[in-house]
Assembly symmetry: C2
């Protein structure tokens, strides 16, 4: 699949996700000020890569998109909560996100902490209400909880803070941190889609392997962009990792070797899809390439 066709498909899937995100906080008795803070960050744009991965892996194993949509969208709520909490003064202290003031700059710290808490809990509400077989929903939501939790994303953020400024030179340590901090959620985005569609164990293995490779490629690309990217396109100041003394792949391996690592992960993600001949697999291959070579 060429990049243009991939981008068209991506755009169509994103539209379904945006529609779901735009309405998921309606018709509930959420206090207005809280809903406003939650929507401010949730509807600020973004690649929506996690929901798209979930939808695509669900389609790959024959599921209809409609009932999977709220589950897929909930992954974006979890991602958004993590960004809001990461940006807090006590954490990374970032004043901008996606080209606008961070949540705590706009609404104050207390509201930002609660907006994050609200998004995380509402994500589980959404996940647990999808009209699919109970066993499948349970298995998928359970994997998401694990990936988002203290042995996944939350633990990764703790490791990241512990490593920042230390100047550790072990690339394996960096990989382990990222496999928790960003990798776990990208991996489970694929895995949960496959679980919701009732994939067998071979299919689930492919989803995990693809997701893990894509997760690493994604992080490497992110680090590279922080060095060479365009501030306006990125929506955050270029060089902010250096400013925060964050450990990155380019800092550790140099740009050239980082690019090669990313490319090898794109290759690995392609191999993970072997045996799955379909338009969806072609889309995923093209998506992995795009993730590695994106400019924003």
């Amino acid at each position: 699949m060429d990049q243009q066709t991939m981008k068209q498909t991506l755009e169509i899937r994103k539209r379904g996700v945006e529609r779901t995100l735009g309405s998921c906080l309606e018709h509930t008795s959420i206090p207005d000020s809280l809903r406003e803070a939650m929507e401010y960050s949730l509807l600020a744009g973004g690649k929506r890569i996690r929901p798209v991965l979930c939808l695509t892996w669900a389609r790959l194993f024959g599921a209809c998109e409609e009932p999977v949509l709220p589950f897929a969208a909930s992954l974006e709520l979890i991602h958004t909560y993590s960004l809001i909490h990461d940006d807090l003064p006590a954490m990374d202290d970032d004043a901008t996100r996606r080209g606008q003031p961070s949540n705590h700059v706009r609404f104050g710290e207390a509201q930002a902490i609660l907006a994050g808490d609200g998004l995380l809990t509402h994500a589980f509400s959404m996940m647990l209400s999808v009209p699919l077989q109970a066993e499948r929903v349970l298995a998928a939501a359970s994997e998401v909880a694990r990936a988002a939790g203290p042995a996944g994303m939350v633990g990764g953020q703790v490791m990241d803070m512990a490593l920042t400024g230390l100047g550790v030179t072990e690339v394996e340590t960096l990989k382990r941190m990222h496999s928790m901090k960003t990798g776990a959620m990208l991996r489970v985005s694929c895995l949960s889609g496959a679980l919701l569609a009732g994939a067998g164990s071979a299919g689930l293995e492919k989803a995990k392997r693809f997701g893990a490779a894509l997760g690493l490629a994604f992080q490497v690309a992110d680090d590279i962009l922080d060095v060479i990217g365009d501030e306006q396109k990125m929506g955050k100041p270029v060089g902010s990792d250096t400013k925060h003394s964050k450990l990155t792949y380019p800092a550790l391996l140099g740009l050239e070797r980082s690019r090669r690592l990313g490319d090898s992960m794109v290759q690995e993600s392609k191999e993970a899809l072997s045996g799955l001949q379909s338009e969806e697999a072609d889309f995923l291959t093209a998506l992995a390439k795009y993730v590695m070579h994106r400019t924003e």
Copy 2:
């Protein structure tokens, strides 16, 4: 059931909960510093009233205790996360909790935010892994997500902050805030136990009604204790509500009318149990009395 027998039963159930809480973060790849911060608050004692309610309502409808235990314990993880986040400088800025330094005083703000996030996500991991019928687990966990979320506990905290210092005099506003902030989780502690045990709709209604009445009694008692309580027994400074200009029932209604409101809720909780003749129902009646008249 007399208060002494009730307290013995309470003690026995608490012991099962403590055992589960003590081991629920073992054997997972949680970074040590994060696990330490999570356990610091989780294992700092407490009445464990939410897990005990869940276990008791599950027993009331014939469930075995063992498979319900991790689900019940997860309610305490959610309660603990909410205390850690509420104590943060940006929120209530409380330096002590349960007689020891608050989580952020001991571990720093960043770690405290993440310890809270970790407890909340791990709670869902635990809930979604209990070895009971998938439909029941899904229904119960879904209710917990709703109760803990932006239309429940998180929304209640937002309302509480908005009301603090305003000097609002509508008791209905105060009731609505508490029914979200503390009531929703106490209600769902009962409801989720009944759901896990497969109770029918009449039983579920009783659980909700009992939980709602107990929740209000609990809050009224808490407010009264803040005025007249013993600092050492409470583990937090007496009069802290006044210090924070928190709206309370005694401030709004006076002590005497607050006591009468609490007592009427104990009566209401007893009526909610009508038709349920069993040792468990007797225990719940005695527990409601104890909640209202406790001294810590």
